[in-house]
Amino acid sequence: MTDRTMFDLKPTDPKPADDKYLSHLELGEPDKTFLDTNELVINMGPQHPATHGVLRVILKLDGEKVLGTECVIGYLHRGVEKIAENRTYTMFNPYVDRMDYVAAVSNGLGYCEAVEKLLNIEAPPRAKYIRVILTELNRLASHQLWLGTHALDIGAMTPLFYTFRDREEILKIFEKYCGARLTTHAFRIGGCQYETYEGFERDVVKFLDFVPPKIDEYEELLTTNRIWLERTKNVGVISRADAIALGVTGPVLRASGVKWDLRKAQPYAAYSDFDFEVPIGANGDTYDRYTVRMEEMRQSLRIIRQAVEKIPEGPIMAKVPKVMKPPVGEIYHSIEAPKGELGYFIVSDGSTQPYRVRIRPPSFVNLQALDIMVRGALVADVIAVIGTLDIVLGEVDR
């Protein structure tokens, strides 16, 4: 699955996208005519157990076969970008935790680093290491949650409880570190607010020893299970060209065979110091996305172990002005969140409040790939694909 060559630099096919997708665009009719056809149209969501929140998918069915889908989103829209324009840089920081609420630490990291770049300051090395440890722990937690819910969607009930049990250990570390479990608000612009607590390293190392057998346990339940294989192999296939054209990122892109990870491509925080691999898949099907994420969990553990071993002493906050007034200008900074590329585009007009904050959410863009992935598949595959895209509606809708 994984090979050690760092980057896959082959230029992609100059054709804009697969014909499959373009033909879809011609099909994309407005809602009214969509419902007028003689096929069966059903709503999946917003009140549905398997749409991971308030996602509404309009399915056009022929029996069990999906002829087309249309996502209706926005049920959880809170206007985060508008709020940002009315808050100072510091005040907006906690809001980003509420977007992807299963990976709040990653959100905070991206935002803090973007503002730091805009201010032209840099967090001290110790802070960077703490950031890496927490972010990777959070990636693990996010993947565990994904695995549990994804397996539950496909009908395997038990992994959910296993993953939640183990995720609890991560949340305990978060709680000890910053007092919060989900919406952590762990980082400050310029570094970390808190020094690690007494015994932080010990907890993390204990966790690192605790979790690999658990990951094996999940795999034991699923990876070679015949039904699991039948449900995931060749389901929701997205080709390499389609994946790039659709701008999907994260494990979804990597499962389609593009070896691209922002942690390697444009290292941020302290990622350039660590040795880890970027797992990729070959077919771009649900099973590949599953194996890619499973491998990513193990790689995260590797990163954390290295980070804990090498964590330097020193201050945890850079010198940051009391009142932040970044110079006029704009910045785009993105990080590799558990779900893909999480980007912040911030425009400063020189005041204490950002003039415009644009958040490029990975889930939003990945969700767009749903339609192409489930066309011609069966209803049950829609569930599998929604699960495998690992969307968080808080982030899709912002």
């Binding site: 980057f7 896959d8 630099l9 082959k10 230029p11 992609t12 100059p14 804009p16 996208a17 997708y21 373009l22 665009l25 011609e26 994309g28 009719e29 407005p30 809602d31 989103i73 926005g74 829209h77 206007g79 970008e81 508008k82 709020i83 324009e85 009315n86 770049k117 805009l118 032209n120 389609d242 790039i244 054209a245 659709l246 701008g247 999907v248 593009v258 691209w260 491509a265 444009q266 200008g329 704009e330 910045i331 785009y332 993105s334 590329e341 980007g343 585009f345 425009v347 003039y355 415009r356 644009r358 490029r360 939003f364 863009v365 969700l367 767009q368 809708d397 912002r398």
Partner: protein
């Protein structure tokens, strides 16, 4: 690359620069359709990261529309920016990058900028029939479409 593009379009490319290590270029709206095609096909910016806009109400050309692009083969990002006035429309990039579909819909939803050639330009995050474009600077932070709220939710707007 910039030189080549400048040679091709002359004054169409108003500014090409680097700020904080990030490349951007400001171009004329008339050439942006061509330019995006060229960036995609010739310069291998095969991944459209984001499409967004910024509203400057005091300017004559009120909106900045931005394309943030990335090239896997070059490991490089570039921002393409155009400035347009209110009511002007922008060529759609859906045929260049399929991902532009929802991103353009979101820009339309939030700023009211129309994209020509978009297959299905309608609101995405806000409900159909909502009035106003929330990310414009003249839209207040607690403002709501009171009529819509009353008609669809059957409650008084919370203001």
């Amino acid at each position: 690359m910039i030189a080549k593009l400048k040679g091709q379009y002359g004054s169409g490319i108003c500014e090409a620069n680097t700020y904080l290590g990030q490349n951007y270029m400001v171009v004329d709206p008339s050439i942006v359709s061509d330019l995006l095609q060229i960036l995609r096909n010739r310069e291998q910016f095969d991944y459209c990261v984001d499409i967004t806009a910024v509203h400057y109400p005091e300017r004559e050309k009120q909106f900045d529309v931005l394309w943030i692009l990335y090239s896997f083969s070059k490991n490089e990002r570039i921002r393409v920016k155009i400035m347009i006035a209110d009511g002007e429309s922008v060529p759609s990039a859906v045929s260049v990058w399929a991902t532009a579909n929802w991103l353009e819909r979101e820009v339309y939803d939030m700023f009211g900028i129309r994209f020509d050639g978009h297959p299905d330009l309608k609101r995405i995050l806000l409900p159909d029939g909502w009035k106003g474009y929330p990310l414009r600077k003249d839209y207040g932070i607690i403002q709501q479409d009171q009529e819509w709220v009353k008609a669809n939710l059957g409650i008084e707007s919370g203001q």
